[in-house]
Homo-oligomer: 387 residues x 2
């Protein structure tokens, strides 16, 4: 074969984390078929979709059955019915217009595809421990990454570095640590971006889990952010859309050519999100829709509180889980992540996610997610307590 391959792929660390978890779980299950395993490591929602969303999607399916209401290609950047609701409700009072909002099939696609807009010589700043997608999508383009350590001392919001980066990824509420960021700290990051001319890519996929009124849901609540930030959001965790696929990216006009470049990129390599998914997403902006998706998130947050207090009750140091679906905890006595994983699996039949799977700064920690039934959460906590 003559075409040269993209040899940046060889720089990617194979993603063994979830396959290794599955493999160890399988071995254990085969040896102990009598143990009911509780999976507390999964990052996928478990509650069914809100009735308002279901109803809207049924109507959308019916629209496609009649010539007079059939919807073919939609606007590449999303239907106005959705963009306008996002502008009015998600960004109320923040001065973001529908033409600065670009609908897609999800945050992961947008986070991956935004790299297309920038030159590959840019230096990328990534706080760690971290959701591996920011790292991998930039390594695939051969870019240099500078890691920014996040520790308990800074509440996992990172120390402002003394070196410049061109593009900075921030994710709050954070995956995997469940940390939220204060308005002051986020302002400090925006100031850093202004001082260095950096662009911030702000992943706020978990903003719907924020319950503390003082915390910012959007980076655009911070003065000056429109001049330096792109925000990516998803309905996956907000409304359980992990299988439905819909999200959006906000590129403020203040960022100059970037909005038009994204339009061009998407117009050329994307054909819009599903009409049915967009109708479903629009339904969460109705009064019933809002109430229903909030109730689902409340239920997950109650799980999170039970997990965090359960872990604390057995003497583990836990953070997160208050404005996020993730609880991040230290392994007991500095045990290594995989060793603790094995212990939980073998002695309690509980699957956790080893922190080392999230890169530098993750070793010695583990992640538990609140995406589970109440019964499973309570039983898992009982078992860990007994252990």
């Amino acid at each position: 074969m003559r075409p040269a391959l993209n040899d940046n792929f060889s720089r990617l660390v194979p993603s063994y984390l979830f396959s290794e978890i599955a493999a160890r779980q399988k071995v254990f299950s085969a040896a102990h078929p009598e143990v009911k395993i509780i999976r507390m490591g999964i990052g996928d929602v478990t509650r069914p979709l809100a009735p308002a969303v279901i109803e809207a999607m049924h109507r959308a399916v019916d629209d496609c059955a009649r010539p007079e209401t059939f919807h073919g290609y939609g606007p590449e950047h999303g239907y106005a019915f959705l963009r306008e609701r996002i502008a009015q409700q998600d960004y109320a009072g923040l001065g973001i217009g529908p033409d600065e909002i670009f609908i897609s099939d999800g945050a992961k696609s947008d986070l991956g595809n935004l790299v297309d807009l920038f030159d590959d010589r840019n230096v990328i700043g990534i706080p760690t421990p971290v959701y591996p997608v920011y790292v991998d999508t930039n390594l695939m383009r051969g870019r240099t990454i500078r890691y920014i350590d996040c520790t308990e001392a800074d509440g996992f919001t990172g120390q402002i570095p003394d070196f410049p980066v061109d593009i900075l990824y921030l994710c709050y509420p954070n995956n995997p640590t469940g940390a939220a960021i204060s308005r002051e700290k986020l302002s400090a990051w925006v100031d850093y971006a202004h001082a260095n001319g950096s662009v911030i890519i702000y992943d706020s996929a978990y903003e719907a889990f924020i319950r503390e009124p003082s915390l910012p849901h959007s980076i655009f609540e911070i003065e000056g952010a429109k001049e330096c930030a792109i925000e990516v959001r998803s309905y996956s965790k907000t409304a359980g859309f992990t299988g439905i696929r819909c999200g959006y990216t906000v590129i403020p006009k203040e960022l100059g050519p970037l909005g038009a470049m994204w339009e061009r990129r998407q117009g050329c390599k994307f054909n819009g999100a599903s009409y049915i998914s967009q109708r479903g997403a629009a339904a969460i902006y109705t009064p019933e829709g809002r109430r229903q998706v909030r109730a689902d998130i409340d239920a997950y947050l109650e799980n999170a509180a039970l997990i965090r207090s359960g872990l604390e009750a057995i003497g583990l140091h836990a953070t997160g889980g208050e404005n996020a679906p993730y609880i991040w905890a230290r392994t007991p006595e500095g045990m290594d992540s995989w060793k603790f994983f094995d212990l939980c699996l073998e002695k309690a039949g509980v699957v956790i996610t080893p922190g080392c799977g999230f890169g530098r700064g993750g070793e010695g920690y583990f992640r538990i997610t609140a995406f589970n039934s109440r019964d499973n959460v309570c039983e898992a906590m009982q078992r860990l307590k007994a252990l």
Copy 2:
């Protein structure tokens, strides 16, 4: 702003075609509100979805309403229920396995994203006139493109070039010319790829329109193609999924690392196609589904036949429309494409697509599509005849 932008975007020709068409149409409508304009240029389907698809999507929506049947993140490369049907039915007897099939949200995404797998120094071969996406997605990566002229003399299937290219794009049945390719000619392209070590990216989005039994539906019907070709398909035109979003790409094992690289790319930048869309797509493989989508395509093909004979009856030289939804015709007396566009709009209230919008070799031609109601097709032909 400090990050250097991807300056390859400046090499892209602004895509004025459809916006220019819309602008001219708007000016005309404002001046002549009494004329009912018939749009014969649109590349979007118009018939509603097949009842089997609608039913399957309603069931899929209901699945998402109950915890026991809820579907969150699906397998990144698609559900087995769909991959297996594709392998069994679309590739019956061709030895393509479900693990060589990767489901996505559509052919345009896959065609755009496949560029990620290759080094940017590769030379790209693109037959022209052409669907602009192959060109733009490669220009965005700064690649060198060598055009391969397709003319009436070669039935718009191109002359085998006397220079090598690393990656070759082929699309049959073709957009915009509606040309189909014979088994012999496609074999000649596969031979060219073997002789030069090229990889062919074969876009067979319109294969469902093939009615002539001797024509190949897939490049994998050609001996030796598995060693040199990737095939991209879509449900957009096969089953009217332009608003539903589902397609797939076949990367045969014989292509070595490319399948694993695509898995890695998609695992990192994509989260799977909508569960509802995949259930809808699976329904077209049932006996009723097959019958229903075939009937829809037959209706479009009857439109195509009426258009082609209508154009010929008024003395225009027309090709395509027999195994494709597109008719490609010479403008009368070598008139330039936009001039003929204006004439059709102003004197007949009919909108066509000027051939020059499809790049080199398109000037002096126009494209008409069969995606319309029978009544509109008949009236448009009457009006052009009168003109």
